[in-house]
């Protein structure tokens, strides 16, 4: 089959649009964050539907007002948060597979539920690979986000792929409104007094505006008498208790070591619940046995 290089032009983009693949596994030993997708299951679903390789790169969009023009035919798949998706000025299904023709323009409008959308493409986006990953990150890749005017390469077969609509599975978006996040106890858990331990599970926490791809900070304060720790490994999903009593949930671009006590660790499957929450939304932690 013919496989030619072509480009998708970014016509508009808010801040924080990124390219993601499964990230830089094995580079933490050099201080390099993993930078995988914030919502791994949404990412995997797209690549599965497109019959791509599991590491094929996708666009990760976290602001409305994103507009992209594909120069040649391809197949895309959308998942993650639910938004208004417009193709050639017509509202289309906001998740699942979609055929793209020459010079089609796709727009992401209001994000109605959740906060992060994935657009996968047949054979993946082909931006520069640095340290075995295309995920954008400051200090690693030339640019740290996708902006208006950028051209993102991909492969085209020069013809619109055939799509069997009947065989399509629906994207299950129930987790976007889920408020329970399952957690394990972290390495410094035992240093918390029992009353504080309990308080973590019988109250709701709200997402603060301090949310980016490195971490999300929660509004409610927890009294903290644990001194700082000697720098120790941290991971996406590690919940740190800062000296000021703030809970900091680390996400995919978090640094690899930290000096705050690590009191909880979010279950990998539930990290997407946290990542998809918007500032002001609430959640509760549910303790799961290690």
């Amino acid at each position: 089959m013919i496989k030619d290089w072509t480009f998708a032009k970014i016509l508009a983009s808010g801040p924080g649009t990124s390219i993601r693949d499964l990230g830089r596994v094995g580079y933490a030993q050099f201080g390099v964050p993993i930078s995988g997708p914030a919502d791994l299951q949404a990412f995997q679903w797209n690549n599965h539907l497109l019959q791509n390789k599991e590491n094929d790169a996708q666009l990760e969009i976290s602001q409305p007002g994103f507009k992209i023009q594909f120069l040649a035919p391809t197949l895309i798949s959308i998942s993650g948060a639910l938004s208004k998706v417009i193709l050639k000025n017509k509202l289309i299904n906001n998740t699942g597979l979609q055929e793209i023709n020459f010079e089609d323009i796709l727009e992401i409008g209001n994000i109605e539920s959740g906060s992060i959308i994935y657009i996968g493409i047949k054979h993946g986006f082909l931006s520069e690979q640095i340290l075995k990953s295309r995920s954008l990150l400051k200090g690693i890749t030339k640019t740290f986000q996708i902006a208006k005017g950028d051209e993102v390469p991909y492969f085209t077969n020069q013809e619109i792929p055939l799509l069997n609509r009947l065989s399509q599975v629906k994207w299950n978006s129930q987790y976007l409104s889920e408020e329970i996040v399952r957690v394990f106890t972290g390495p410094e858990w035992d240093q918390l007094p029992p009353t504080i331990q309990k308080s973590l599970f019988n109250q709701s926490f709200h997402i603060s505006p301090m949310k980016n791809s490195m971490a999300v900070q929660l509004e409610e304060l927890i009294s903290n008498e644990i001194p700082g720790i000697a720098s120790a490994p941290v991971f996406p999903g590690t919940i740190q208790l800062t000296s000021g009593g703030k809970l900091l949930c680390l996400l995919q671009d978090a640094q690899v070591t930290g000096g705050y006590p690590r009191i909880l660790q979010v279950m990998e499957d539930d990290l997407r619940i946290l990542a998809q929450k918007k500032p002001g939304q609430k959640l509760r932690f549910l303790l799961v046995k290690n």
Partner: protein, 232 residues
């Protein structure tokens, strides 16, 4: 030497941390590195990666073995049988006040002359414990306690890549522009991280670093052609 037994903590289904009651620096660092290597070798089919801190090693499992198996292995492992080979690196640093923006204020706060600070900072060998904070940021031990100084209460918005700084009882080099609360006393023309090289760093945990004072002219000459350093 007292027998230091690590504790095993299970953090979820695919994450284990083994930790020691004390910081594994100096001679103990070799033990940590040997145990990390021994675990990687013994469980190579089970492990995605390991990460290290001052008192701990975290293991990310692809498939988790029985914890008794890990515990038994840690009890029996003859880590001394693992050969280690370390390098000493010489890093040029220009301690000119133009580059060491906080040098003057720091010397006043510490009541040391600038010359004393340069001598104290460049006469020690520092040990690389692990990388963290930023890509290529070295956690170094061995700062002369006389040079320790609390971090700034309000961090600077941006510290230049290459800045050599002191914060608390640590010294370090900012591998990229970054906000930071450490006192900048100089700058090195040596790059500490290159994403186009794999590995992207030149030193490994256990290696030693030595700072060599250079003039502004040398700094400018070396900055024009930044190169990874050579082993001494």
């Amino acid at each position: 030497m007292v027998e230091l037994k690590p504790e095993i903590k299970q953090i979820g289904p695919n994450l284990t941390e083994i930790s020691w009651p004390t910081q594994m620096v100096g001679e103990l660092l070799f033990k940590r590195i040997q145990i990390e290597k021994a675990i990687q070798k013994e469980f190579c089919n089970y492990i995605i990666e390991t990460r290290a801190g001052y008192q701990s090693i975290s293991i990310v499992w692809k498939k988790k073995p029985e914890m008794e198996q890990l515990s038994m292995f840690l009890n029996q492992v003859q880590e001394d049988s693992i050969q280690l080979d370390f390098n000493l690196w010489e890093i040029p640093v220009c301690y000119d006040q133009i580059l060491g923006k906080d040098l003057y204020a720091y010397s006043k706060a510490k009541s040391f002359s600038i010359e004393d600070i340069i001598n104290l900072h460049s006469e020690s060998n520092y040990q690389l414990n692990f990388y963290g904070f930023l890509p290529g940021f070295m956690y170094l031990s061995g700062l002369n306690p006389l040079l320790a100084h609390p971090r700034k209460s309000v961090p600077d918005r941006s510290i230049d890549a290459g800045s050599v700084a002191i914060g608390g009882n640590l010294t370090g080099i900012y591998p990229q522009n970054s906000p930071g609360g450490w006192h900048v006393i100089g700058k090195t023309p040596t790059p500490f991280f290159n994403p186009y090289c794999d590995p992207p760093v030149w030193a490994k945990p256990g290696d030693q670093i030595r700072f060599t004072p250079i003039s502004m002219a040398e700094y400018e000459r070396m900055s024009a052609h930044p190169k990874f350093p050579k082993v001494v």
